[in-house]
Symmetry: C3
Subunit: 208 residues, 3 copies
C-alpha cells in the first residue's frame, strides 16, 4: 500500500473517531468514555475484519498509531466541541463518506489478498466500512446505521465490487482509486438526493 493510502487511511480513521466522539458526548459520557467510543468506532471495522481473516494479533496491538489518532480526536472534540460544532456539520457527513469509500476498498483488497471468494471480499469491504459505526451505535444505545434511510452500506458494496471486478492486471492503485471514487460518488449523490433502496412492504403473519 503506498504512502498516499496510508495518509488517507489515517484521515478515514480520524473521521470515524470524530463521529464516535460526537455521539458519546451527546450521550453524556465522560472523557474516558468518549475516547473509548472514538477508538471503537475508528478501528472497530478493521478489527472485526482482521479477526475474521485470522490476522492476529490485530495491527494496533503492536502499531498503536490508529488508536492514538482516535484518542487525540476524542480529546480535541471534547475540548473544542462548543467552538467547533456550533455551525453546520455537513463537512463531517462528507468526510464520513470519504472514510466509508476508502475502508470499503481497503477491506475488499485485504480479503482478496487472503484468498477470499469475490462475493466474500465485497462483503468484507462493506463490513470494514460499517462495523465500527454499528458497534458505536449498539454500545451507545442508538438505532444502528443499518436503519438509515439514505444509501450507506450500498455505496460501500459498490466500491468493493468495482475493486474486485476490475482485472488484477490494472494494478492495486487504479483498481482502488476507481472503486473509491465510485463509492464516494454514490454516497454523495445519496446524501444530496436522499436516495434510498426500496423498502419491502411487510405484512405481519396472521398469528402474530
Amino acid at each position: 500500500m503506498n504512502e498516499l493510502f496510508f495518509w488517507y487511511a489515517a484521515i478515514g480513521t480520524a473521521v470515524f473517531a470524530v463521529s464516535g466522539a460526537l455521539l458519546a458526548l451527546r450521550k453524556g459520557m465522560d472523557i474516558v468514555g468518549v475516547s473509548f467510543i472514538a477508538a471503537v468506532t475508528g478501528v472497530g471495522g478493521g478489527t472485526v475484519r482482521d479477526i475474521l481473516l485470522g490476522d492476529t494479533p490485530v495491527r494496533w496491538v503492536t502499531r498503536p498509531a490508529d488508536i492514538a489518532i482516535c484518542i487525540a480526536c476524542a480529546v480535541l472534540v471534547s475540548a473544542f466541541n462548543k467552538r467547533l460544532l456550533g455551525r453546520r456539520m455537513d463537512w463531517l457527513l462528507y468526510a464520513d463518506a470519504a472514510g466509508l469509500a476508502l475502508f470499503a476498498v481497503l477491506g475488499a483488497a485485504k480479503a482478496e489478498s487472503y484468498g477470499a471468494h469475490a462475493l466474500t471480499a465485497i462483503l468484507f469491504g462493506a463490513m470494514s466500512a460499517t462495523f465500527g459505526g454499528i458497534i458505536r451505535d449498539i454500545v451507545c444505545g442508538e438505532r444502528p446505521i443499518l436503519f438509515a434511510k439514505e444509501l450507506y452500506i450500498t455505496p460501500a458494496l459498490v466500491g468493493g465490487a468495482v475493486y474486485i471486478l476490475l482485472p488484477e492486471a490494472l494494478g492495486f492503485d487504479i483498481r482502488a482509486i476507481t472503486g473509491l471514487f465510485c463509492a464516494l460518488f454514490l454516497r454523495l449523490l445519496a446524501i444530496r438526493l436522499q436516495w434510498s433502496l426500496p423498502f419491502p412492504r411487510y405484512r405481519a403473519p396472521l398469528d402474530e
Copy 2:
C-alpha cells in the same frame, strides 16, 4: 461430515436466515439491511464458534455458499413476504427447532475435534445454535431470545450433551443423529406444552 449433514446444515442456515430477514423487514429495513441481518443470523453462531476455536479465516471467507444462501433467503422473503407470510407461521417455528438441534450437535462435534473439554464442547453446541439469533436481536434492538419463556437454549444444551456423552465408539453418525433428535424432541415439546424452567425469585437488595 457426510452428504446428508451438509444438506441439513444448508437448510438450518436458510431457516435462521429467514428468521433474521423477517425481523429486519418488520423493523423497516431496506433490502441491503435485510440481507445483512439474514447473513448475520445465518452464519453468526458458527462464526463466533470458529473465532473462539481459532479456526480462521472463517469458513465462509473462501467458501461463501452459506452467505449466498442467506442473501437468497433475504431476497425471497422480501419479494414474497406478503404472499408467503399471510398465513400461520408455525412451520417457521418448527424449522427453527430443526436448525437449533442440528447446529447444537455440529458445534459440540467441532469443539470436541479441537480437543475441547466435555463441558466446553456442550456449551459450544449451544453457542453455535443460539448466537446468530442473539446477535440478530441485539442489532435489531429486540429483547434477546435469552429472555424467551419456552425452553430454547436448554434443548441445544441437551443435544450437545447427548452427543458428547455417547461413547465415541458409536461413530459420528449415530451420536449426531441421537443428539439431534433429543434436542429436536425437547424443543418441539417445549413449544407445544409451553415448558419453561423455573425462574428464580428475585428479591432486590435493600440498598437498591
Copy 3:
C-alpha cells in the same frame, strides 16, 4: 504467574459472574439464562483480549475451570438470592473493585508478553477488566457501565499504566501488586467520594 494470582483470578471471575447473575435475575431470566450471563460476564473480558491477541483456542476451551466457576456462581446466586441479598450489597461493589484491579493488571501483562506497544497494553488491561461487564449490559438491555458516573474504567487504566511503566527489572510480582493496589485504591476512593471525570459540555450543532 504464581499460585496466589491463580486464586485471586478465580475470585475475580467469580465476582464478575455474581454481578452478571444478579442482573440476569433482576431481568427475569430463567436459570439457563442466568448461567449464560454469568459466564459471559466472568470470562468475556479475557476472551475478547485473547481473540485480539490471537491466543486461540481461548483458554476455557480446554481448561473450563473459569466457566465452571461462573455456572456455580449462577446456581448459588439463583438458589440463595433471597437469603443472601436481603441485605446491604456493598461487599459486592468492593469485590467488583478487586476483580477490576486484578484483571486490569493481568490484561496489561498478557498484552505486554505478546509484544504489544505500551499504550496498547494499558488499553488491553482496561478492556480485560471492563468488556465482560459491557457485554453483560448490552445483552441484558442495560445502559453500559461506560455511562457510569463514578470512575470505573479510569482505575483500570491507572492500574495497567502503573504495571507497564514500572521497570521490568522489578519483576512481575512487584509490578503487578503495585499496579493492582493503585487501581483498587483509586476505585475504592471513587466509590466513597463519588469521584467522576469532567463531562465535556456538549453543544448541539446548529443543523441537528
